[in-house]
């Protein structure tokens, strides 16, 4: 199959699965989900090998070339993102199949079973479509698809905290989308094209570029939970059902970050917005500190993990100031590895929380004592994933952070290393609060508990994958560089 066929499959297969899940109902849900997950992951894998072999894959939908029609584009960065979605997606699917179960649990659980699968598969399709889009209005539609499915998934939890979080998430997501849409509308009104390449070619500095750029970047920053627009994230990610939290923290926020990278590096460079990159970096640094401090104050595991996402996203935002001029290629490599490792590790932590919630009455940190002996698999998953979040060698998190740090020093911008190092210290703080309880054993009086094996194993598998990224970083980096993504990102 050609690269384009894999790319199209990556979008159409999950869409078909979502439709089948909707019609099939609660009983069929998880089987449709599992089958679709496998097929979608295969498409992502196929696309990755096509990109590795043949460079950037392009497709003109409808046979119409841009700017009249919509184009799909898969370079190394897109392919890496799709692989990330596939890896996390499979684990989430397996865990969710166990989490929501196949039958029983009453009417409420039956409703959740019915609704989760179509919502989740639509989210998967939306993410794939987003990473493949080369048309900025097409991106808007995929953003809405991602946002609405995410909100629906958060609301599935049903308790008032989750509902409130879903409502706040929705309002802010819509504000972000409107800002983005207005920016895109202005770009079209001034340039007459919606194609990424076309905009890049035609855009020059000026009032239009600045206004449209501010709107687009602002809208996306809101969706990427950039400080101080991050308030919606912790309640939503902590309040959602655990498999959903995994998808949200690992994948959904990365989508907004990915778009910021595309826009600042490839679509809007003609707008000459240099201070935007520094601003993004500075706010990212603030996010690292703020998120970590708040994580220290949480008394539930999911709360710690959710605030940790805010902090870790802050690291990603340091990409923007570091990628200027000579630092571009290494900064992108660092950010790419970091994003991939974070996705795997963060999803592992949330899936582990899900297993804990199935076995224990709550995920309060106080109640986690002796996790190591009561739920050894889950405890191992938490420990290994934390190693990557802490960016300890040789994990994937370390590889990404090391590349970002070395970019900072190599380009003489060592000031940006300060928040990274500080973040490491703070992460140690909030991680050890969890780990000391998880690893410590209680003297024999706590009975062992069981969570569905599928949930524990999927968490552990992702944690090990995050670790593995650090052992063989050249593999994802080779994919990232294929199709000239690293070169294309340089000015």
């Amino acid at each position: 199959m050609s690269g384009a066929a894999w790319a199209i499959g990556a979008v159409l297969v999950p869409l078909a699965g979502a439709t089948a899940a909707l019609v099939g109902g609660a009983r069929a849900g998880r089987w449709v989900g599992l089958a679709t997950a496998g097929a979608s992951a295969a498409c992502a894998g196929g696309l990755a090998s096509a990109v590795l072999a043949g460079g950037t894959v392009r497709h003109r939908v409808g046979g119409w070339g841009a700017p009249l029609g919509i184009e799909l584009r898969a370079d190394g960065l897109s392919a890496l993102m799709l692989v990330m979605v596939a890896a996390v997606g499979i684990a989430v699917t397996v865990s969710a199949a166990a989490y929501f179960g196949g039958a029983g649990g009453g009417e409420e659980q039956g409703r959740r079973r019915l609704l989760f699968w179509p919502l989740w598969l639509f989210l998967w399709a939306a993410l794939d479509a987003l990473f493949l889009a080369a048309d900025v209005f097409n991106v808007y539609v995929t953003l809405e698809l991602v946002g609405l499915s995410a909100v629906g998934l958060v609301a599935l939890a049903g308790d008032r905290a989750a509902l409130g979080a879903a409502a706040r998430y929705l309002v802010l997501a819509l504000l972000g989308s409107l800002a983005y849409l207005l920016g895109v509308g202005l770009l079209y009104a001034g340039l007459g094209t919606l194609d990424a390449g076309g905009i890049r070619a035609a855009l020059g500095p000026g009032l239009l570029a600045t206004a449209a750029g501010a709107l687009v970047l602002g809208g996306l920053a809101l969706k990427a939970a950039l400080f101080p627009l991050h308030g919606w994230l912790p309640p939503a990610h902590a309040g959602a059902p655990a498999p959903v939290s995994a998808a949200l923290s690992a994948l959904v926020v990365k989508a907004a970050f990915y778009l910021l990278v595309r826009f600042t590096r490839e679509i809007l460079p003609g707008a000459a917005l240099p201070r935007a990159e520094v601003l993004l970096g500075a706010l990212g640094a603030a996010g690292i500190v703020w998120g970590s401090l708040q994580a220290l104050r949480q008394d539930r595991l999911k709360g710690v993990v959710a605030y940790s996402t805010v902090a870790q996203l802050g690291y990603l935002f340091l990409f923007f100031p570091l990628a200027r001029d000579a630092g571009a290629a290494t900064a992108l490599s660092g950010a790419g590895l970091f994003a991939l490792a974070h996705a795997l590790a963060k999803a592992a932590l949330f899936l582990a929380s899900g297993a804990i919630l199935k076995a224990l009455p709550s995920d309060r940190l106080d109640g986690l004592a002796g996790l190591g002996s009561r739920m050894p698999l889950t405890a191992a998953a938490v420990a290994v994933a934390s190693v990557s979040i802490l960016a300890l060698p040789p994990s994937g998190g370390f590889a990404g952070k090391w590349l970002l740090l070395s970019t900072a020093f190599a380009t003489g911008r060592w000031g940006w290393a300060v928040p990274m190092l500080l973040g490491g210290v703070l992460a140690a703080g909030y991680s050890f609060r969890v780990l000391e309880r998880a690893i410590a054993s209680t003297p024999g009086d706590a009975p062992p508990v069981r969570a569905p094996l599928a949930m524990e194993l999927s968490a552990l598998a992702l944690a090990l994958a995050a670790f593995a990224v650090g052992l063989v970083p050249w593999a994802p980096l080779r994919l990232l560089g294929a199709g000239g993504a690293l070169a294309g990102v340089a000015p």
């Binding site: 809405e144 008032r160 905290a161 509902l163 409130g164 509308g185 308030g231 912790p234 902590a238």
Partner: protein, 100 residues
């Protein structure tokens, strides 16, 4: 000033009103009203600017039609959440407490 620019400015003002509506209120239904106003403002800007040619450029029209459908979807979801929140907490407002 042409009709096109006239309506475009009107759209910007409408967007501002909608934005105020979202920021100034806590009640979810009021925020949905604000979002609808803001959305309409954005659509108005886009379509008005399409009127700078005769016949009008059909691409922005198609974009706004898509946007309208998306807006409907968002409104439906937001209102469903508002009703449910009211049922659970007695007020169609995001609960004040932050965090899990």
């Amino acid at each position: 000033m042409t009709s096109a620019h006239l309506f475009a400015f009107s759209g910007v003002a409408l967007l501002g009103a909608g934005l105020l509506g979202v920021l100034a209120h806590r009640h979810l239904v009021r925020r949905v009203v604000g979002l609808n106003l803001a959305g309409s403002g954005v659509f108005l800007v886009i379509v008005a600017l399409a009127r700078r040619s005769d016949p009008p450029d059909p691409v922005p029209h198609a974009l706004v039609l898509t946007g309208l459908v998306v807006g409907l979807s968002a409104t439906a979801l937001a209102l469903a959440l508002a009703v449910r929140l009211h049922r659970e907490t007695g007020a169609a407002r995001v609960p004040e407490e932050d965090g899990p």
